[in-house]
Amino acid sequence: DVKVTQSSRYLVKRTGEKVFLECVQDMDHENMFWYRQDPGLGLRLIYFSYDVKMKEKGDIPEGYSVSREKKERFSLILESASTNQTSMYLCASFSPFGQGTGELFFGEGSRLTVL
């Protein structure tokens, strides 16, 4: 089974702190994603990466950056956390059609609270 592991399930940070959210997948997927989930808004794509050191902005990249130094690891960075970044963050990896099943495989989520 594909396993996507998010290192922190719950975090509490203060406004202005730098926050790192780490995600590791074990299926050698090239594509990895960071979503943000808020009630009534569904999942919104923050950033995605389709190869090591390659990244693209999603729909809501402002206030976030990402790092992909190794294929299995994709990190989300909040340079200066703000209260409106309090949310559930979901990491996922992807097996595209033609190479796999077209499914997204999700981690358990990281619930971030910014005070």
């Binding site: 996507v4 998010q6 399930r9 594509n31 994603f33 009534g40 808004l41 569904g42 999942l43 794509l45 995605f48 389709y50 693209e56 999603g58 979901l90 996922a92 992807f94 595209p96 059609f97 033609g98 099943t101 077209g102 499914e103 997204l104 495989f105 999700f106 981690g107 358990e108 989520g109 619930r111």
Partner: protein
């Protein structure tokens, strides 16, 4: 651009009754459709998908979904609901042309099954 609509924020059903969670989509080209379920404070879990073939797709936990191309719908169904089915359900769509961006999600529908 592709999109997914889940018109109901919440669906309430009594245990033992059939349930339907609605989803409509908009894409250019042939859709690939997915349903995911999320239990409290967890990541999303794959339920089922439609790629091609039979319009009625069977998935995990007794769920099924019917693809209707003329109505651009992919409603999730179960003949007899269980209290343990109470969760948040997401419909998602992609196409072969979507490439690296993977899935577009609806806003989610909360299913509440009463004993």
């Amino acid at each position: 651009a592709q999109s997914v609509a889940q018109p109901e924020d919440q669906v309430n059903v009594a245990e033992g009754n059939p349930l339907t969670v609605k989803c409509t989509y908009s894409v250019s080209g042939n859709p690939y459709l997915f349903w995911y379920v999320q239990y409290p404070n967890r990541g999303l879990q794959f339920l089922l998908k439609y790629i091609t073939g039979d319009n009625l797709v069977k998935g995990s936990y007794g769920f099924e979904a019917e693809f209707n191309k003329s109505q651009t719908s992919f409603h999730l169904k179960k003949p007899s609901a269980l209290v343990s089915d109470s969760a948040l359900y997401f419909c998602a769509v992609t196409t072969e042309d979507t490439g690296r961006r993977a899935l577009t999600f609806g806003s989610g529908t909360r299913l509440q099954v009463q004993p």
